[in-house]
Structures are given as structure tokens and as C-alpha cells.
Amino acid sequence: MISVRNLTKRYAGHTAVDDISFEVDRGEIVGFLGPNGAGKSTTMRILTCFLSATRGTASVGGFDVFKDSIEVRKRIGYMPENVPLYDDMRVKEYLHFRAQLKGLRGRSARHATGEAMDTCSLQEVRRKMIGTLSKGYRQRVGLADALVNKPDLLILDEPTNGLDPNQIRQVRELIKRLGERHTILISTHILSEVEMTATRVIIIDKGQIKASDTPQNLIRRLHSSGTVHLEVKAAPGQVIEKIESLADVKTAIHISSAQDWASIDIHPCSNVDIREQLFALSREQNWPLRELYRDTASLEDAFVNITGS
């Protein structure tokens, strides 16, 4: 669906995108991650034919963004960063205008407008002036605009930026649903979002691609330490002694005790999962157990690890 080769974008003396190449296949939901100023929006603007590249090529659905820009634009629904909209138009009127502009006619334009408003839960504000809408509704209008003509590819630049947690959840659900029908390229700072919705993550930093993989693989690559936390009701000294006698355990450290509960960190020898052994041990010793969990690396760890200086 998207094919980017050796793409470079230079602004007066400053390289925003530096020789990046990547592919996005039909049906994928790709999360575009990177710190501020990494070049995410710039890449998206090139893909949507708004900006030219300094070097390299990009194509969408087999059409070159530079040579066949109209064909490319017909196939893309784009929601820019900060969701620019005409404040003096009403929601329905705006979406209808956009549907027409994207080539839908008469009845099908009206139908598409209604459908987009349904999808983005905009029906109750359809007569409202866009300038009076709350941020969350503006965001949804932007999203409705992007998908009104059912494009093959959705390019969404920080669609949940500035929303409250409830709305973030709603928009995320929406994106997930959209992913069933569209290919999506989405940029965001909210990692849990990508972790939940994306089938693949591209991490970009200082204009260069640092990683491109599934969220799970990125996390796995981090080699989580496998540290396990345990809380049992028993004397700490005895517990540590018993645990350290297990073959797979390197060290066990007593962290704290509250009332009779001892809280202990256990580091295994290699990256093995020792939770089952620990559970068996506490049952055998008749220790009341109230907590047992293994540290997992998150996408956030992967992100910090890859882009941190």
C-alpha cells in the first residue's frame, strides 16, 4: 500500500527526514512512533502529497506521490496534526463539502456524510458550528473527514492528542474497528495505544528509522530481566533461604515487610519463568500468598531504550 524509498526531506539547513525506507502492506495498522521533532508529521505530509521530498520516492497504492498526486490523494484519508477545520461551517455541512470534494456526488455524498457521522458519533452535534465544538468533537470531525470517502489508506497524525481518557478509549476503539477495513498509518505519543491497536510499529528518531517490528517483538527484544515479585506471610529469612535453594534462582532479596507480609524480589539465573516453581514452593511451605508477578517490559521501555540518548 505504501512504499517509501530513501526518502529525505531537508528544510533550510535542517534534515527532518533522513533517508528512510519502509513498506506498509494492505490491511496493516502501522504505528509511527518517535519523540517530538522526529519527522513523523513531515513523512506523513510527503505521503499525502502536501510536501515534496528533497530526495527519494514514495508511492501509495502503486502511484507516485509526486507524479500522480491526484490519484494518491483519491486513495488517502488524512487527518493532520491539530485537526485544522473551517470554524465557520457546521459539522454536517463541512463533512458533506469534504465528501463532495473527494468526488462523491449527490445522494452518495449525503449517504457517506451520514455514515461517517454515525461511525464517529457525531449525530448529536451535526448542526453545531465547528468553531464551538470541544476538542474531542473536533478530533472526531477530523476523523470523520478522513474516512468519509472510504479511502484505502488512512493517515492519522496524533488522532488522540489532547483528549481525555474516556475519549482516547473511544477513539482507540474506533481506530481498531476501522483497521478491519482500512490500512492505517497512525502517529502517536501514546504507546499503549499502539500496543493495543497496531500490528506493526515503526520507531523513528531524528529522521531515521530505528526499529520496525510488531509491538510484541519489540518488547521481547528488550530481554526483560524476568524479575519476579512475591509477597507471602512468613518470616523473611526463612523464605529467602528456601527460595535461594531453588535451582533456577540466582538471588532473592527481601524488600520490605508490612505486618507479617514479606515482600521479596527474586532474580532468576537466566531468563526463565520461575513463577510456577515459586507457587509450588509456597504451597508446599504453607505460606499464604497474596502477590506473585513477573516484571514485563513495555513498549514504553522499548521506546525509551531505542530513542533515549
Binding site: T54, I70, Y78, P80, D88, K102
Partner: protein, 251 residues
């Protein structure tokens, strides 16, 4: 073409639903009405060899107000879209930049015509009420209307261009004002530089609005000014198009 009409309708709609359009129409009509009545009064007091139409458009006051019209009409065209960021949604939709430029241009031209109509209504009212002729021959009417249309089309194109240069409406307005006024005063070079060689002066009359207006309001319609204003407008619109496309040029 379909895209052009969709965009044109949207532009017209945002014009006529904004208070600015009505403020401009009201103000301009009021000023011209006032000017009109003072000229009628002046002509009653002192016999004048020219017609009312000629005298109105010969008045510096008319042109003063006229110059302010174009910055007001055109400043927001592209500058506002740039500032709001809507240029990005606009140009990532499958529309050609030329369609956008033409839609904005013609929408402004339509608004311009609406603003100019009351002046001509004044003349007809005058003729109706007094039974006197506002112009000595009907050609004067058409000539005046034609020259106003031509100069207007050219000035709107200047405004379009200025608005595409910046995201600041005030700066766009100032560039338009300077452009419009400078062009108008080119025609006055006669007065300032009487020592200029005559071939040059002849050239100057080719783009002297003052000269064209004299001829046209006498009913003497000439094709050269028509070609001049229309082609200049096209050049300005082409430049506007280039400015908008610049961001997509290969560096």
C-alpha cells in the same frame, strides 16, 4: 470543473455568511451614496461639461474608497487557510491548485460585483427621479461598468497573489493596498515626469487606469485595455498558483 463549483460555492457561502461582507457592502454603498449626492449638488451649483457618470468616476474620493476595497476582499483568501492549517486538508484532497485559485478568485469577483451594483442603481434612481440623463450616451454606462470590472478583476488577482504569500492577513492586506495604489498611480507619471521621452509616455498610457477610465466613461471602449487587464490578471493568478505549488517542488 465539478471541484471548481464545489469550492466556489463554499467560498461564496463563507463570504455571505460572514459579517465582514455586509460591513463592506454597507460601508462602500454609504460612502458612494454620500459622494454621489455631493457631486449632484456640486453639478447643480456649477455647470460642468461632463456627465454625472464621468464626474463620479473622476472623483479622487471614489478611488480612495475603491483602493481600500481590495485588501478587505482578498486578505483572507489564502492567508487564513495558511494560518488555520486548512490549506493542508484542502490540498490533500483530490483537487488541483488551479481549481482552488480559480474558485477563490471568482467568488471574490462575484462579491465585488455585488458591492458595485448599488452605484449603478444610484444612476438609474437619479434618472428615474429627476428625468435627467446621468450619462450623455448609454455607452458611458457600459464603458464605466466595463472599466470597473476590468480594473476590479486585475486588483482582485493582485490581492489573491498577496494573500498566497503570507499567513498574516494584515501583511497580505498591506501588500495588496500598495500594489493596487502603485499600479493606479503609474498612470499619473505624466504629471510627475513631464520631461520623460514621448515614446515612454505612450507606453505608460497603455497601463494607465486613469486614461482608460476617461476613455471608457466617455463610451469609447478600446480593446487594448481589455487585453491588458485580463492578461495581467491571468499572470497574477498564475503566480499565485506557482506560490501555492512551491511547497511541492523538488528542492
Amino acid at each position: 470543473m465539478r471541484q471548481f463549483f464545489i469550492l466556489l460555492r463554499k467560498e461564496l457561502r463563507s463570504f455571505f455568511l460572514s459579517p465582514l461582507a455586509y460591513v463592506i457592502i454597507a460601508l462602500f454603498t454609504f460612502l458612494n451614496g454620500w459622494l454621489f449626492s455631493s457631486i449632484v449638488t456640486a453639478m447643480r451649483l456649477r455647470v460642468n461639461q461632463h456627465s454625472l457618470v464621468y464626474n463620479l468616476f473622476d472623483s479622487g474620493w471614489f478611488w480612495m474608497g475603491y483602493f481600500f476595497l481590495f485588501p478587505l476582499l482578498t486578505m483572507r483568501l489564502f492567508a487564513e487557510e495558511k494560518k488555520m492549517g486548512t490549506l493542508e486538508t484542502l490540498f490533500t484532497a483530490p483537487v488541483r491548485s488551479a481549481q482552488v485559485v480559480m474558485a477563490k478568485y471568482f467568488a471574490t469577483a462575484i462579491l465585488y460585483i455585488v458591492i458595485m451594483l448599488p452605484i449603478f442603481a444610484f444612476f438609474f434612481l437619479f434618472q428615474d427621479i429627476t428625468g435627467e440623463l446621468a450619462a450623455f450616451q448609454s455607452g458611458s454606462f457600459y464603458g464605466a461598468a466595463a472599466i470597473l470590472m476590468l480594473v476590479g478583476l486585475f486588483n482582485i488577482a493582485i490581492g489573491c497573489f498577496a494573500s498566497s504569500l503570507t499567513s498574516n492577513q494584515l501583511i497580505a492586506a498591506m501588500i495588496t493596498f500598495v500594489g493596487v495604489v502603485l499600479h493606479y498611480f503609474l498612470g499619473f507619471i505624466h504629471f510627475f515626469g513631464a520631461k520623460l521621452p514621448t515614446e515612454l509616455l505612450d507606453k505608460v498610457t497603455y497601463f494607465s487606469t486613469v486614461e482608460h477610465r476617461r476613455l471608457f466613461t466617455e463610451g469609447l471602449v478600446d480593446t487594448r485595455p481589455i487585453v491588458y487587464y485580463l492578461s495581467s490578471a491571468i499572470v497574477m493568478l498564475f503566480l499565485t498558483h506557482q506560490i501555492l505549488e512551491r511547497r511541492r517542488w523538488k528542492a
